[in-house]
Amino acid sequence: MTEELAVVGKSLTKPDAFSKVSGQTKFADDLALPRMLYGRLLRSPHPHAQILHVDVSRARAMPGVHAVLTGDDLPIKFGILPVSQDEEALARERVRYVGDPIAARSRSR
């Protein structure tokens, strides 16, 4: 078992090490693609409140807006953890904290 191996037992430089130490590595927030859209969330200003009605017609009519979504567009609860299985992507009927997302829109910048 004293055979010299090329990789096993050696401390090797990671393939992406120089990309990372030079700031060249692209993280999601660093990407700029042609015709990229920018998303924005409307969040609850209230710690706990009922949603009676969301009117997104003016947001939809704005120039450059590609989509506006509310909770009714995303009815399937998505939580992947046992503690989060009741989570909704966008609040429907009720918000439960300041910052709870209510609506989302995408537009070209």
């Binding site: 990671k14 090490a17 990372k20 130490v21 030079s22 700031g23 590595t25 993280f27």
Partner: protein, 142 residues
Amino acid sequence: MAVIVPPYKTLLEVLREDLGLTGTKHGCELGECSTCGVLVDGKPFLSCLAMPLDLEGRDITTIEGMADGSRPHPLQVAFAELGAAQCGYCTPAMLLTAKALLERDPQPSRQAIMEALSGVLCRCTGYVKIFEAVELAAARGA
């Protein structure tokens, strides 16, 4: 390089959005994580809280300007060799902050390195390799 910028933009936004220098990272935008750190006149500076108008005529260094042309800075070499860049998000600010330290104190103690880098948060928690890389670069006379 001289740049003309809108007065409402932070230094971080100008670097990333107007100049395309995305090596400077966008973290908390509250001055808590230091991942947006750059050097202003050689000293660590949080670009997310800096307004370019306050920095007129000052010398700003980002990670893109750390290498000497195609020759990486000894800190960059040491970080790469020792695996001190794990996910890599805090790495640019870590490197620049360490560079400022070594220029002030070329042979820092472990304690001095820890204090100098204490403001830059690494969520991978890979601090030991980072400290070791700074020590290696110092030993090589960075």
